[in-house]
Amino acid sequence: MKNLLSPRREVDEFRPRLRAMVVAVFVAFALLLGRLVQLQVLESDHWSARARGNVMRTIELRSTRGIIRDRLGNTVATNRPAFNVYITPAYVDIDRDLGRLASWLGLTDEQVTAVKQRLQDATDERAFRQYLVLEDITRDQLATLETHRRELRGVDVVSVPVRQYPYGTLAAHSVGYLNEVSAEELDRLREQGYRAGDSVGRSGIERSWEAYLRGRRGFQKVYVDSSGMSRRDRVPGMPPAERMRREPVPGRDLVLTLDMGLERIVERAFRGHPVGAAVVLEARSGRVLALFSKPAYDPNLVSTGLDREQARELLDNPFRPLIDRTVYEHYPPGSTWKVFTALAALGDSVIDPSVSYECEQRYEFGRRIFRCSHDHDEVDMSSALVQSCNIYFYQISQLVGMDRLARYAVDMGFGRRSGVGIATEASGFVPTRSWYLQRDGAFRLGATLSAAIGQGNVRATLLQLGLAYASIVNGGTLYVPQLVQRVEAPDGTVLEEFPPRVRRRIRVAPQHLDFIRRTLAGVLTDPNGTAHDALIAGAVSMGGKTGTAQVPQQRMPRDDPRRAWFYNRPHAWFAAYAPVEDPEIVVVVLVEHGGDGGRFAAPIATQIINEYLGPRRSDPTEPQEAQPSRAPRPTGAPSGAQRSH
């Protein structure tokens, strides 16, 4: 704008620099505009997402884990609320409240020091993170904290569901336990929907049925303001909050084939024996009625997290309570194995069962001398089984042969996992000629002698033995063991029912199976029977086979030498069924390092059978008194000679 009246004004001096200023102002505002283009146009998606994330908070809705019941509806695993105490360092008044809190919660001085340290270390953002002080406080502690809630700033009690196992150690290995997913696992499990703080089944049914039990978490999105408070249900341009909800799906309930009453009976029958295991099966379905492994751990403790002392106690226990002796561990089956040697001989008509052999308590084979427990005199197959004569089976083992025995054993389920589907199941072991050739480069015929009486390299689990005996007494059907009978919704509707699953028909003629079944009754009834002492007068008829399995002689270097004798004692076995005619159940009992099978294992089995089946047989109004255990306490070290009966 030119001023005509004043061609040379004093302001003209500024003109060039004013022009430069105009340019500078344009540049500056162009800079702002460019920045707005960047933020609002180019990066708008990023910032919009952040804005949405700001106002939307996802509240996870926990699902409840399915409840596990036994076949009669007794609760085996359920959930209960636990109350955990958290502290938010930023809000808590250490000097004023920590002392009171410690006395209410019964914290030790050590714990108080640790808490103090944590509170002082928590700076910046960490000061606002809740920190767990004590898990699972008692009702009294909860009540105290609730009373003083208003005075205790920064102290929160949070309720979380905790798994509860009302039966404690009973059937603990089969049911299993849970614990929290670790940070490393989370990387892997995140896509399956696990979050920090979630529990996951670690063993037993809790682990293998995790997918059924777990359920699916739900969520609810809420709109919040900067203080994290839920503000309103609707936010312009975003979906209404109630539509952003997914209901949690509760876990499925499981009904087991186990009978906890029977587990109790088994537990009682094992009194006085520190280590052992038992399996009880339905003979005609393969359903597992009881799995018992002693010693056991308390899944209630393991699930909530053991303290150091409890953990050491579990891990250092020489009887290894964490081991499931029914399926995870396998053992030399000893004389319970003779039944399969006999069936192999009968099945291929290797010998006539009426043919007798002379037992002179010793059997010379090559340069070795194999021994028998007694001088049995003349024994045929039937009396050899009843009296458990080793010599007889040494004799016929040469006719049966290693590989034929192996074939029959594998056919009856040995050497392979039974498919019970819990934990890590052992497969046992059935040696063959080629295995020895591969291992030793040579096959010694002596191995066959050992194999015929369930020694040497033969290994079997209790469950395998139970299933094989069931197949013998039920007429030849080998079942897949079954632990879960059905799956139910929380309201009780049956979602899935599992019928018994046949694994195969074993290739043994029914008359041979009948012969074995009848013969084994004599083990108890025959005065010379190895388990005759365990016979309970007037009890349910039953049959069975004893076993006294030699264990490899071992030194226990770190162990008390006075206890070494214990570890060199043979395992006591008894594999039984009842009743003899039309058998319903099969019971396999193992007393680890228990000694003589007939003296130590058989009474346990007869007691179990009698207590379980006895009341059902007699008049229900007059229940039969349970017989006390007649199992004598193990005394003295047995001689080291290889004996089996």
Binding site: M1, N3, L5, S6, R9, E10, V11, E13, F14, R15, R17, L18, M21, V22, V25, F26, A28, F29, L31, L32, L33, R35, L36, V37, L39, Q40, V41, E43, S44, H46, W47, S48, R50, A51, R52, N54, V55, D124, E125, Y223, V224, D225, S226, S227, R231, V235, P236, G237, M238
Partner: protein
């Protein structure tokens, strides 16, 4: 006389300046309403009403400021400046400490921020100085000593409050005005070198910890340090960026309505605006400020004397630096310092100062043809 005056006012009235000012003020109140609508409690929710009162007061003062021929102000320039300095010192005696700094003098139920008015007083003082020193040859460093001293005193006082934002605004206003005059290239370079060298020293000795934290988190506001200093800047970026093209709509900005924007009514009203009205709205608002600044420069160019020209450039500088620094900080181009956005931010002293500046601009603009 009255009719002559009325006619002259009608002919010379600077409509573009008036309309632009009104537009920003109206939009500012509307935006303030949104910025405070979600706030808890009535103390903040009614701020837009108070802002209207302040606008009315400011407008009245602006009319007075425009009515008296500005050349009269030249006479009282230094006196007024001295009073301003006295008020700044009074702050330390009477001031209330609010969030770690002492900037306000309480007067009844209101409080008055002398540092705001100091901006105008500084411009008047500098204008008087340059008016009385009509040199056209290049100035050397020695020639900058007196004006430098004029600005240094209030800057030191304000830094002690502490109020880095206002102090730097004063420095920028001073620089803008001195750049109007012809400076020797060597002097300019010397200043630049000294300035560059002083940056690390300032960092080391003059800045407070909270100020340093803000600078540090400025580079990546939403990064790791978001909770220790970057929070304001980050949430502001989220608000602006999520506005996209057309914004979320009036009263519907989630960042604002859900309380994620800090100081949404004082330091960050532009974030509220950008979130709710998007890129187009932001652009329009920026255009208004751009026009205001350019118009001030135009008034300076057509002013009839040096005093009027310097006065206008000074007022333009006030608008420019406030708008640029505020929007720059809201959009993450600049670190967060408490600099208000003229007529957009809530604040009595700020509103009155800005409107006084507008009044002075109007004064110069209306008297460009009038001769003594």
């Amino acid at each position: 006389m009255a009719t002559v005056l009325g006619q002259r006012v009608r002919e010379a009235f600077d409509w573009p300046l008036f309309v632009t000012t009104c537009a920003i003020a109206v939009v500012g109140v509307v935006n303030l309403y949104s910025a405070t609508s979600a706030a808890p409690g009535p103390a903040i929710a009614d701020l837009y009403i108070q802002q209207i009162y302040w606008l009315a007061l400011g407008a009245s003062l602006a009319v007075l400021a425009a009515a008296v021929d500005y050349r009269h102000y030249e006479r009282f320039g230094y006196v007024a400046f001295g009073i301003g300095l006295a008020a700044l010192m009074l702050v330390f005696l009477l001031g209330r400490n609010i969030r770690g700094s002492q900037r306000w003098i309480p007067i009844g139920s209101f409080s008055f921020q002398p540092s705001e008015f100091m901006k105008i007083l500084l411009v008047i003082a500098l204008a008087k100085y340059l008016h009385n020193d009509p040199r056209t040859e290049g100035r050397t460093l020695k020639d900058l000593v007196v004006p430098g001293a004029i600005v240094a005193v209030p800057i030191v006082l304000i830094l002690r409050q502490p109020d880095l934002g206002t102090a730097s605004i004063l420095a920028f206003i001073f620089a803008s005005i001195m750049l109007m005059t012809r400076l020797k290239l060597r002097s300019l370079l010397t200043i630049a070198v000294v300035f560059a060298a002083s940056v690390p020293l300032t960092w080391r000795y003059l800045l407070h910890d909270y100020q340093k934290r803000r600078f540090e988190s400025f580079l990546d506001p939403c990064g790791e340090r978001v909770l220790s200093g970057g929070w304001h800047a980050c949430q502001s970026l989220v608000a602006v960026g999520s506005g996209t093209w057309i914004g979320k709509g009036f009263l519907q900005g989630t960042q604002n309505q859900h309380g994620f924007l800090p100081d949404q009514h004082s330091d960050f009203p532009f974030a509220v605006w950008a979130e709710e009205h998007g890129f187009f709205g932001s652009m329009a608002l920026i255009a208004l400020y751009l026009f205001l600044v350019l118009w001030a420069l135009k008034i300076a160019a057509s002013a009839k004397d040096r005093f009027g020209a310097v006065l206008s450039v000074g007022m333009g500088a006030i608008f420019f630096w406030h708008a640029f620094i505020n929007i720059g900080m809201v959009t993450g181009l600049l670190p967060v310092v408490g600099v208000t956005l003229p007529l957009f931010s809530y604040g009595g002293s700020s509103v009155v100062t800005v409107l006084l500046a507008i009044g002075l601009l109007m004064n110069v603009s209306m008297r460009r043809y009038v001769f003594q």
